[in-house]
Amino acid sequence: MRGFIAACLLSIPLLAFAQDDLMEMAKDSNEVRVANTSFKGIRIINGHSVEIVGKNNLDFIISHRFDRVNRGFENFYGLDAATNRLALEYGLTNRLMIGIGRSSFEKNYDFFAKAKLLKQTIGANNIPVSLSAFAGYSLRTLKSVPALSGKERSSYTGQLLLARKFSETLSLQLSPTIIYRERPDNFTDSKTVFATGIGGRLKVTKRTSINGEYFYVFPKQIDMGYNNNLSFSYDIETGGHVFQLLFTNSYGMVERQFITETTGTWGDGDVHFGFNISRTFSFNKKIKRE
């Protein structure tokens, strides 16, 4: 009898062991899963998205905004005239990027930095949203009468970009914005303007999405002649490139221009067709094979 008990006892660890499923045990308690990107592009349409360029990656962005669609057939629905913005945007680290752009509209130069503060994750570290901070400076160099000083032509933008990827298809973003213009074109406008952007994307296929974006300027800050910016786009990405085909009521592509100085209204057909094309280059060293 004692022998039997001993045998039983001795076999306990064996039995316990046999029941262990190795796959069940294959778990890393420290694992953190970062959500895939919320937006295809560094911009939702005009405004910045929560995304940043990868480390040592350079984005070359060519953007066009054509004239108003309601120009009619004679001007080929606005396609006869166009403004552009050429930009180089670079990732210093996986959380910090800088960029420089030049718009033909108002001969404007813009410089910015954007930092990713939070990444949406699940797992050991559960963060429900992504958060980025944006700071931009823009300088208008178009000659004016009377001539203005560099300081007077400057404007500054600060933004918080708060996004959540709700599902594979749906991402939404809120972008509280503050813009300071040294000298508004309209002297009754306040120099400091508070606004908030709301944007989202709906993935249609793996490689395409429909985006929408709206910037609401809080009342009593800018002239009644200015309108809020509303845009829609269709994004297509093709390994290395992102194409955004878009409609917007703004000619400008820099925060001061499209948030505080948009003159077109959708209702009157003051809509501009345009596109953003970005091409990414990587300056990372080849990955060593194990």
Binding site: P13, M25, A26, T238, G240, K286, E290
Partner: protein, 183 residues
């Protein structure tokens, strides 16, 4: 009674030692892959591979968090996750199998090994036999493998409209350094 207690004690210590020595594991195995492409070669690495090896019955499991692959080009990483691997839907690639050769894990040495089992990538199972080199060292086991993955086998589609056309076969290498699993 004394004898019984002694026996129990022996059993416990026995099971403790047993568990210590039989299962080897890691959470930081390395895996990388490479694909020849006309414009830009695609390569990526991941050092969050999870694997367990049961030296008593030669069972082996490997679990790779797909979202943890790092690419040189972030946009490629995005495509990899969103378009090819759909890593939010299929977060892990796994292998569950058995090493075919009889190996004396108590002796140090290097062995050519093969493991047969199920390779699951992109949610699709494939029966595979993968070859590798196993090195038994005191208190650790090192397993290196090289194998090819055919995208078609795992229903990973290459779209026609793509600038960086990728190869249909991807070569994968892993390097896993196991240590005795701590309970």
């Amino acid at each position: 009674m004394k004898k019984l207690i002694l026996l129990l004690f022996l059993c416990c210590s026995y099971s403790f030692i047993y568990a210590q020595n039989v299962i080897y594991s890691t959470n930081s195995g390395k895996i990388s892959f490479f694909s020849k492409a006309p414009l830009e070669d695609i390569d990526a690495k991941n050092d969050k591979l999870i694997s367990l090896l049961n030296t008593a019955n030669n069972e082996i499991v490997v679990k790779v968090p797909v979202g943890q692959f790092e690419f040189r080009n972030k946009l490629m990483q995005e495509h990899f996750n969103e378009n090819y691997m759909e890593s939010e839907r299929y977060p892990y690639a796994t292998f569950k199998g058995k090493i075919n050769e009889a190996i004396d894990f108590s002796k140090t040495g290097t062995y050519d090994v093969s493991a047969s089992g199920i390779l699951n990538i992109h949610g699709v199972n494939q029966k595979r036999t993968l070859k590798g080199k196993l090195k038994v060292a005191p208190n650790s086991i090192i397993l290196d493998t090289n194998f090819d993955v055919k995208l078609e086998d795992h229903k990973i589609k290459i779209p026609r409209l793509v600038f960086n056309k990728i190869a249909e076969v991807i070569s994968v290498s892993t390097s896993v350094n196991y240590s005795p699993r701590e309970k």
